[in-house]
């Protein structure tokens, strides 16, 4: 049946998980730090950067389930490498919008770890509405000139190449008139403010001041990029849902173990009924998000409405159940869970950020509802 794992996939998961814990996870980063580039090349040599891509570009085959497996293992790290920004988002733009020549040129470089990508789509006033694009691309001679601002571009500091959503026609929130541009990170007129995020990743504010690009810098259909963007973001939502599933499973393990050893009032706190029930509820919560994430992954290649509803459902559940596990992971550990010394707080923060990424519960719930009525009226989109 289609809704369970193959033996091969389980094997992949175990391999990645072992690798992550030994090399990229919380303890590994503390005990044997390595440069980000070195970690990245390791991941490349293990083939992790390629699981989502077609074999003809040197990829692993491209089942959405493989990305889920990798991201779950990353979630258990937690891993802070720019995998989602480079592979899922950047690579997603290539996969879904790139023409054959572009794919053949860039995907192998991505898989080899030589070129890092990022996708700049959010803007100061867009919130989670992907159609809300103010950054303008104006035709100038044979090319375009980009002006505007993108915010919280994950993986921005590491990226060699930026994909940028820009408006080539229409008004700020029109669904039509949006195009995708490929911009070298060091192009003239691109200026970045780089920073770390609360959960240990990197991101940038990127300003585009009359950045000149040739006509070929457009990836995909000029003016018709929104459906592609929505598809790419849906891929990424599933990826971060899977990451959250990994973080939940790690948190649940930590909590069971901690509660069995932490003594208060003369007994391990795991003997208190309220603690036991909380732990049970955390496991119940895990099952919900895990189920809907897998379901969403399997729906990624379906029509946009089915895909959108399945993805939104997973994200909605994450916003309730993963957040529940995150909070209680901290709560059950008490003060030590509130510190930077333990991975528990990092899992919690990562889940918190994932909940917000691409829109939290109410946003995705509205999308879920609007897609239901899709045939009766126009959907509001993301």
């Amino acid at each position: 049946m289609r809704y369970t794992w193959s033996e091969e996939q389980r094997l992949l998961r175990d391999t990645v998980e072992r690798y992550v814990i030994e090399n990229l996870g919380f303890a590994a980063r503390r005990d044997k730090p390595q440069t980000p580039r070195a970690a990245w090349r390791d991941m490349a040599s293990l083939g992790l950067l390629g699981v989502a891509f077609d074999e003809r570009y040197g990829g692993g085959g491209g089942s959405p389930l493989d990305t889920v497996l990798v991201m779950e293992a990353f979630g258990r790290g937690p891993v802070v490498e720019p995998y989602v920004s480079t592979v899922v988002l950047g690579g997603g733009v290539l996969r879904h919008a790139g023409d054959e020549a572009l794919k053949a040129e860039l995907i192998p470089k991505l898989i080899a770890g030589d070129t890092l990508f990022s996708f700049a789509y959010a803007e100061p006033r867009s919130r989670f509405n992907l159609a809300n694009v103010e950054l303008r691309a104006q035709t100038v001679g044979n090319g375009y000139e980009l002006s505007g601002q993108k915010i919280v571009v994950y993986g921005g500091p590491e990226a060699d190449v930026l994909f940028v959503s820009a408006r080539t026609a229409g008004d700020t929130r029109d669904r039509d008139g949006i195009s995708l541009f490929m911009v070298p990170a060091d192009a003239a007129g691109v200026s970045r403010q780089d920073y770390q995020t609360m959960d240990g990743l990197t991101a940038s504010e990127i300003a585009f001041d009359r950045v000149r690009v040739p006509a070929e810098a457009i990836v995909g259909e000029p003016g018709g990029a929104l459906p592609t963007i929505e598809r790419v973001i849906d891929d990424a939502i599933v990826a971060v849902c899977a990451e959250a599933v990994g973080a939940m499973s790690a948190l649940n393990e930590r909590c069971v173990e901690y509660c069995k050893t932490r003594v208060a009032f003369g007994q391990p706190i795991s003997k208190f009924q309220v603690v036991q029930h909380r732990l049970v509820d955390m496991h119940v919560a895990y099952e919900q998000v895990a189920a809907l994430t897998l379901r969403a992954a399997l729906a990624l290649d379906q029509d946009p409405v089915s895909r959108g509803r399945a993805v939104a459902a997973a994200k909605v559940q994450l916003g309730q159940d993963a957040v529940f596990v995150g909070k209680n992971g901290v709560q059950l550990h008490g003060a030590i869970g509130m510190t930077e010394d333990l991975d528990v707080g990092h899992f919690f923060k990562r889940i918190t950020m994932i909940n917000s990424l691409f829109g939290p519960v109410e946003h995705q719930l509205r999308r879920y509802r609007e897609l239901r009525g899709h045939n009766e009226g126009a959907a509001r989109g993301h």
Binding site: Q276, H283, V284, L292, A313
Partner: protein, 406 residues
């Protein structure tokens, strides 16, 4: 979940069509109405019974039983298809205490005579069983039960009472846990008996629920003689029979629960289309209502997929672990929340006490439009969903112990 997710073969589609045809041709309007009016565990008795007879005639009286006892020999995939179609058709819920609860125990622990005598009568719909477990002083803590069975030659003599026995007023048999000895560990000293309801000394007291229905009974036993040949398993070993039953019930219960959840979502979606929002539209247009309904729909999608995964991942022959029990903790909450939303949907018309009109055949007119009949009693009755079959507190205790090792 739908059939597309099963990687269906042409044979699977054919099977689906066959089941669907069967439902279309055999499920009468009365059966459908009986199903619709079911507020708690079971449909009005007559309709449950006649539906079981129709199933039996088709050879599907107990499809999940082993083939030797009349099972249909279906694959897991066919079982899922059957559940999907059953959910779509919504037949009246039959008294499952016989078919789903006591029968598997008889198969495992019964003598050849017991198997030969009871199983055919269960599958044919001739026998109807009640469950004699709870007592006034033994609910969640079942092992505290006190109903006394004293050995007297070839018989036991029973004194005491059982309570919350659903539909005992219709049953001709009852299986009971009784105390045959006082031991250090109270789980020991319990025996499992198969009893005729017409045994002299059995009396019923009806108990009416807050939904206004005669669903429960207290069953009094005064010097009731039960032949020892009606004992299932060894004397004082009834607890292991009961545990077997429970395990079976949890695992079968998961799929039934998911089927029920999907139906409730559909029902609620219809309901909101029938209710005015007071501002010129229907309740379907109400953003808050649709928001809450969507949240529950998503919970049901999760329940559905998790259950299907569990079934797909199950090692053949291995006993089910507590994961089904774990999943059903949330599922029961979702089930209740759906009825709560239903009760809210009908607005003022949740108030009238319509027990007279809530029968398959009745002369009592409905107060308000027909769709307001079910929701409020459904909600009230469904509070039992977190009481009968173990409270969430007990289930959480179990899962903590058996699955998390706490």
């Amino acid at each position: 979940m739908d059939i597309e997710q099963l990687d269906p073969t042409p044979e699977d589609y054919a099977f689906r069509d066959e089941v669907r045809r069967f439902y279309d041709q055999n499920l009468t309007d009365e059966h459908r109405r009986a199903a619709l009016l079911t507020t708690w565990a079971l449909a009005e008795f007559e309709y449950g019974r006649s539906w079981q007879k129709i199933l039996y005639a088709r050879g599907w009286g107990a499809p999940n039983w082993p083939v030797e006892y009349g099972g249909a020999g279906w694959s897991p995939k066919q079982r899922l298809i059957w559940e999907m179609e059953s959910q779509r058709a919504r037949p009246p819920e039959i008294m499952r205490m016989g078919k789903n609860l006591v029968a598997p125990c008889i198969m495992t622990f019964g003598t050849d005579e017991q198997k030969a005598y009871f199983l055919p009568r269960i599958i044919s719909g001739e026998d109807w069983w009640a469950q004699g477990y709870s007592e006034p002083g033994a609910g969640s803590d079942l092992a505290s039960l006190q109903l006394q069975a004293t050995s007297d030659g070839d018989d036991y003599i029973l004194n005491g009472s059982k309570i919350w026995t659903t539909f005992a007023q219709f049953a001709n048999r009852i299986f009971c846990l009784v105390r045959t000895a006082k031991m250090q560990k109270k789980q020991e000293g319990i025996t499992f008996l198969l009893i005729d309801m017409d045994s002299p000394g059995i009396e019923l007291r009806p108990i009416y629920t807050i939904a206004g229905e005669h669903e429960f009974n207290q069953v009094f036993f005064t010097d009731v003689r039960v032949p020892k040949s009606r004992r299932l398993g060894e004397e004082n070993a009834g607890w292991s029979v009961a545990r077997h039953l429970l395990l079976y019930e949890h695992s079968a219960g998961l799929l039934r629960m998911v089927t029920e959840l999907r139906w409730r979502v559909r029902w609620l979606n219809e309901l909101v289309g029938l209710e005015a929002d007071g501002y010129g539209g229907s309740l379907r247009d109400d953003p808050d209502f649709s928001r809450r309904l969507s949240l529950l729909e998503i919970a049901v999608e999760a329940a559905d997929f998790a259950a299907a995964q569990l079934i797909a991942d199950a090692k053949p022959g291995a006993p089910p672990d507590a994961t089904g029990e774990l999943l059903n903790i949330r599922n029961r909450e979702t089930a209740q929340a759906l009825t709560e939303l239903g009760a809210e949907a009908v607005g003022y018309y949740g108030a009238p006490d319509q027990r007279g009109a809530r029968k398959v055949v009745t002369d009592v007119p409905v107060v308000g439009p027909p769709h307001v009949l079910l929701p409020m009693p459904f909600y009230l009755a469904q509070r039992a969903n977190t009481i009968a079959g173990g409270t969430p507190e007990i289930h959480r205790n179990n899962v903590a112990k058996h699955l998390l090792g706490l």
